[in-house]
Amino acid sequence: MSLIDERSSGAPERRPGAPSRHGRPAAELADTGGSRSATEPNGGIAAALLAAGIGCAAFGVLVVLAEASGAVKDALTVSEGAGPLSGKGLGATVLWAVAWAVLHATLRNRELPWRPVARTTTALIAVGLVATFPPVFQLFAH
């Protein structure tokens, strides 16, 4: 099962400006939490979700690499107290932030089909979940 709803995107449930059964435009009745337009492209949303997936997958890959290589584990030991977990967390956070910035700049003005976004995000999150499960990453122990 996909973590993300894959049906193709995007049409708002009510046409913006269409009168509701209460006689007021739907946009007026819809939530108003900090958004700019009911028809704003979904590219910025896709960028945020894909970046979250990239952060999860990057952390999972770092966990496996640290398990497989003593050199990587040493390199990831940013803090002696916290050990390699400190470098895994910092590394994944940097990759997530950079990926998000690049994706947001690239996609924010585009309306994307939701299925590829959903499938890619689901796959990336799955990589993170599987790679952080001990019986899996301990298979790579050097």
């Binding site: 939490g33 970046a51 952060g55 939701w114 001990p134």
Partner: protein
């Protein structure tokens, strides 16, 4: 008078962030799932609650992984000096006992790693809820995607918190007094 040691304070901070996470998740998921938009005042309130709740959950999860990794975890994984008793060194104590080693090899290894996935997921949900609130309200596919990400983040947090509670019960806690 010393009410708390440093270790106890850090653990309480870590646990307090877990409580904040639960409140953030409750408010966030309730306002993402609820689609009733009958009165403007109610929907504005709902959007504000959703924004505040998702932001609270993201902030709490960042706080939990940062405090857990850099403030609590070093005390757990500290190596005992040569010949010292392991009572103040939880990781060493668990690994020294064959019956309890599972709680480090599986329990702590899963907890410390799966927890780090949660702030990425929760932050993306909070950003979208705040920045694209109207699209979230009107587009059920996007709202459905956010609900799933938010739920995965919450379930992973529950796994981490549950394992932490179990390990805290099984392993000695003398390191908190240091």
């Amino acid at each position: 008078m010393n009410l708390l040691s440093g270790g106890e304070f850090f653990l309480l901070l870590h646990l307090g962030l877990g409580i904040a996470f639960i409140h953030g998740f409750a408010g966030g998921i309730a306002t993402l799932v609820d689609r009733t938009t009958t009165r403007l005042a109610e929907t504005r309130l709902k959007a504000r609650v959703r924004a505040a709740s998702t932001l609270l959950m993201a902030a709490a999860l960042w706080g939990a992984v940062i405090s857990g990794t850099w403030l609590v975890y070093p005390g757990y994984r500290a190596e005992p000096p040569e010949g010292a008793a392991t009572a103040a060194y939880p990781k060493a104590d668990l690994l020294a006992n064959e019956d309890l080693a599972f709680w480090h090899d599986f329990g702590m290894e899963w907890k410390e790693h799966v927890a780090w996935l949660t702030p990425f997921l929760a932050t993306s949900v909070a950003f979208v809820a705040i920045r694209y609130g109207r699209r979230v309200s009107s587009d059920k596919l996007i709202r459905s995607s956010l609900i799933r990400l938010f739920t995965v983040a919450a379930l992973a947090s529950v796994v981490a918190a549950g394992l932490g509670a179990a390990i805290n019960k099984v392993a000695p806690n003398l390191f908190l007094d240091l």
